[in-house]
Assembly symmetry: C2
Homo-oligomer: 336 residues x 2
């Protein structure tokens, strides 16, 4: 047995007694082929187990059907949920997903994009990191479309999908004020991602405008453990904040656990907590976290429809989409 005994259109043509072109046409939607010929080809193909070789097809059509998803920390609840939504939408659009895991460095994103170019990806969607401008140009030059999700970048060319983090965050400040809190805090990671900083900014500004005392603390990476550390830092201050807005739900979960189990605080009785992302765990009985849901389906929808659209449409459209997060009231903030 040969190493890769794959069956080609040639074999099918031979068996069906037609030309290679007839086989190709049979598998090309909208091509003109006689019903009877088509039938014969289909039969032969089935018997032989023939499948169109998309590598070769992509070579000819200059369109691989591959869309590259570039992401770090893909196993995180928020990221994996977004990934799922994108994957489903892409599959429904007839695209195939190539997944590239990066570390959190920008160089790593560059490497991923080069890989995407090598595989002639029709487009790449970037969920983490920010590519160098030269790499962006390289992608565009190679006919690859780019989508940046929550990456605050102003280069022309890529489609930019952003959440209105700042405006949303300001609403939490108002909610805290209505709950009767005077001293509030923002718990952030030290990742300093554009969206994280926008949330911090939106909250701080609004809180100050309302005359509240605002404390900001940043620590580590955006995960559960960092949330616990942030709780230690904020809850041991001389004036303990009465309400804390965490930059993400994962931070909020760690924060709440520390607040309850290590400081014995009741939520929302003694402490109000809010988060962002609406990960699945935010709805769990142990947390019941008031948070912002990212409309993941809308994000995926916007990304996929843009990268599947005709070139002329793409060139004309303003490549920027702003999406409104949705406030989900649960039980971690008084009032509501």
């Amino acid at each position: 047995m040969a190493s890769k005994p794959s069956v080609s259109a040639h074999d099918v043509a031979e068996r069906a007694g037609v030309s290679r072109s007839a086989v190709s046409r049979t598998f090309t939607p909208g091509a003109s082929v006689a019903p009877e010929t088509r039938e014969r080809v289909l039969k032969a193909a089935d018997e032989l187990g023939y499948h169109v070789n998309h590598l070769a097809r992509g070579l000819m059509r200059r369109e691989s059907g591959i869309v590259c998803l570039i992401v770090s920390d893909a196993a995180t609840p928020y990221r994996s949920a977004l990934l799922r939504e994108l994957t489903i939408h892409l599959q429904n659009a007839g695209k195939v997903v190539m997944l590239i895991n990066t570390d959190r460095s920008d160089d790593s994103v560059g490497q991923a994009l080069r890989q995407a170019i090598r595989y002639q990806a029709d487009a790449s969607i970037i969920l983490s990191g920010l590519p160098d401008k030269s790499i962006t140009q390289l992608c565009l030059k190679n006919g690859q479309r780019l989508v940046l999700i929550n990456r605050d970048d102003d280069q022309p060319g890529p489609l930019k999908i952003n959440l209105n983090d700042e405006e949303a965050s300001s609403r939490i400040a108002l909610a805290f004020e209505r709950a009767g809190c005077r001293h509030v805090a923002f718990a952030n990671s030290d990742a300093r991602t554009p969206s994280l900083m926008a949330r911090e900014r939106g909250f701080s500004k609004a809180a100050e405008a309302l005359g509240l005392e605002v404390t900001v603390e940043r620590y580590g990476w955006t995960g559960y453990e960092a949330g616990k550390v942030l709780a230690h830092r904020l809850l041991t201050r001389k004036i303990r904040p009465e309400a804390v807005f965490c930059a993400t739900d994962l931070l909020a979960c760690g924060f709440m656990d520390a607040a309850r189990h290590e400081f014995g605080l009741s939520i929302p009785g003694q402490l109000c907590v809010a988060g962002f992302d609406d990960i699945e765990q935010a709805g769990w009985e142990s947390y019941q976290l008031t948070t912002f849901a990212q409309p993941l389906a809308s994000i995926a929808e916007a990304a996929v429809s843009w990268l599947c659209s005709a070139p002329e449409e793409t060139a004309m459209s303003v490549p920027s989409v702003l999406i409104e997060p949705q406030l989900i009231w649960r039980k971690s903030v008084r009032g509501g």
Copy 2:
């Protein structure tokens, strides 16, 4: 500007003033090319932004470098963690990951495998569902290697990686008995996956052998919500079980939350709970769940090394790997 203005080896050759094969050789490790020529080619390639076209290369080499990951419910904590481990290992091995999301039907897996064939994937790793035997044969016939993870199947050809679910589960029965529990229960989903059923079997048998009273309940899909429902069913019985082994951590989280917040039970004081998978949340302060860790790195390692190995090795090796889960003692079971 043309639609896909990608730069080819021909362009590089022209600019460097060499033949096209010289370019090809420069990018083929281990090919003989003069250092000076190589230098010229590299320079021209860099200036033009040339990248080898892996579609064309795959066509020639009959090896695409693509490995297909077939999975349903990829956004689940356990699945996404396994996915991450596999992706990282594959990338380190120089492979590129194609992700295909399926629903839970076996037919859907078949469709995914056909897609893998169309893209000439070197291998497919199946995490969910079970392909029809004829499709398995089709893959093998097309020179595609197959890895089945936790899919209890006896077809020859694919590599089968399985956890020793049954033996592991029996150890929990012993732990419950040592904790002084007489009435125990197994909380399962109704998915009836081989691994889930093996856990049920292993636990039930061992518990009965120890002279314990065993109740088994099954409901819905393997998720948090099902865990809550299972808690309602089991905790409202005339004789309330003193210990419950949940088939997965996700079920256990839902179970614990319902037990505490709706039935007011203390864990492990009034109720012992154990889970399986060691998802991240199992270690969170709110759960501190005693559970089994799946050695994900070992699983990924085994899968990747096998599918990267030489054909002759593959043909000889017994394509089956049994991996031992590791018991993680936390605080949801008395004793330990």
